[in-house]
Subunit: 215 residues, 2 copies
DNA sequence: CATATGAATACACAGTTGTATAGACAACCG
DNA sequence: CGGTTGTCTATACAACTGTGTATTCATATG
């Protein structure tokens, strides 16, 4: 996967720093007050310990680095989803445990999830599309889970896809604001978020019932 | 309010460009691919037709300009709220008309609302706090409306404040993504958003009922 | 009118940025 | 071994940034 290991016997000097090392350097620079879109090529190169021009050997653009970061964050997100799914068994706990897992990861992972949460609204088109792709993925997984859960509980959902979209966007929006808050507030926000998600699910079920009764 | 009109009879030259003119110039520069936080002092001054240093006569920082822009956008948002309230009479139409007004303004106003929607996640702390203030305002107004509506319909809400928060964050999140889409998609998004909001309201009412029946 | 005073300016400076060019180094192949 | 090839570095450039200092300009007041 990395550049260092993908050399297929061709001649030439071995790369001193791997593509992943540059990504790691960029990750060290981003923080609550530093967005990926404001990273400069020279800055990243300096942090990685290479000459500015060497950057081009690994990425064509600085935007390409940004997209790579988002992809990485996306993989982290999928891991979260997997963990949440393993912990989710009953209907009562699926909302709670999913939200909890999300917020826990938000506190632990710091950087990666932050990128995904906050950089969706700024940056180039390629940038936004990369984030949107990850959100769509999250949304689709959630939609499948919702349908599966509804069936197990003999309940019906009004427009499951829309329900999933609402939950996804809400969780990410609330998560984005939670990032800037001190960690002590996270439990409170987790509670609030769980209630909010339950509202959406309950509303979707209620609307499905009404639609069925009075078409 | 403006600098030009607040001169209290002291000696000295009249300001050539008003503070508002600089704000207008900054507004001309922001767009779907240009965030307020990336505006440079020189760039704004150039657009306003003044020397770079003259900027300091009106704003201490470039961040101060950003906050002024957010305040302006906030006033625009309050106007939207007012318009939506006037159009909202029955329960059926209050969600629909509010969402419609919001999306209409999103298409018409372009710049101002965009700032409020997208710049909340990046920038300095003063920046974020200014946006958060406006969101809180929106949230409080909405909460009052929700309670009023629930009373009129003999319904109850589960945690009205949380309900308002969920709706607010969702509307803003969806609105932020809608900005980047072509205007033809706006009607579709408006429909989706209206359904989502109704889900939250319905869920809040359902949860209030269940809580009342089975405490 | 003269003068004080605030506004706007011109110029300068040190810093940063992205990138072009050219050379030095190291690994592989024949 | 020599040659080829790809990677890295050094240097340089023009454009840009924020801001400091000194100067000019216009105005209200004495």
């Amino acid at each position: 996967m990395s550049v260092t290991s993908s050399r297929k016997g061709t001649a030439g000097r071995k790369p001193a720093v791997s593509r992943d090392a540059i990504i790691a350097a960029a990750l060290k620079l981003v923080g609550p007050h530093r967005s990926v879109s404001t990273l400069s090529l020279r800055e990243v190169a300096r942090e990685a310990g290479i000459a500015p021009n060497s950057f081009y050997r690994h990425f064509h653009d600085i935007d390409e680095l940004a997209v790579a970061l988002i992809d990485l964050a996306g993989r982290s997100l999928r891991q979260i989803i997997g963990a949440a799914r393993q912990r989710a068994t009953t209907e009562r706990s699926v909302v709670r445990s999913s939200v909890e897992t999300f917020m826990e990861q938000l506190g632990a992972d710091e950087k990666l999830l932050h990128i995904l949460l906050r950089e969706g609204t700024v940056g180039s088109d390629a940038f936004k599309q990369a984030v949107e792709r990850e959100l769509q993925f999250f949304e689709n997984e959630l939609c499948a889970d919702l349908i599966r859960l509804a069936k197990a509980n003999d309940a019906r959902l009004h427009e499951p896809a829309l329900t999933a979209k609402a939950i996804t966007r809400l969780v990410f929006a609330i998560g984005a604001t939670a990032m800037d808050l001190p960690r002590e507030k996270h439990p409170e926000i987790t509670d609030q978020l769980a209630v909010m998600v339950r509202m959406i699910v309950a509303g979707s079920q209620t609307m499905a019932q009404n639609r069925a009764i009075r078409p």
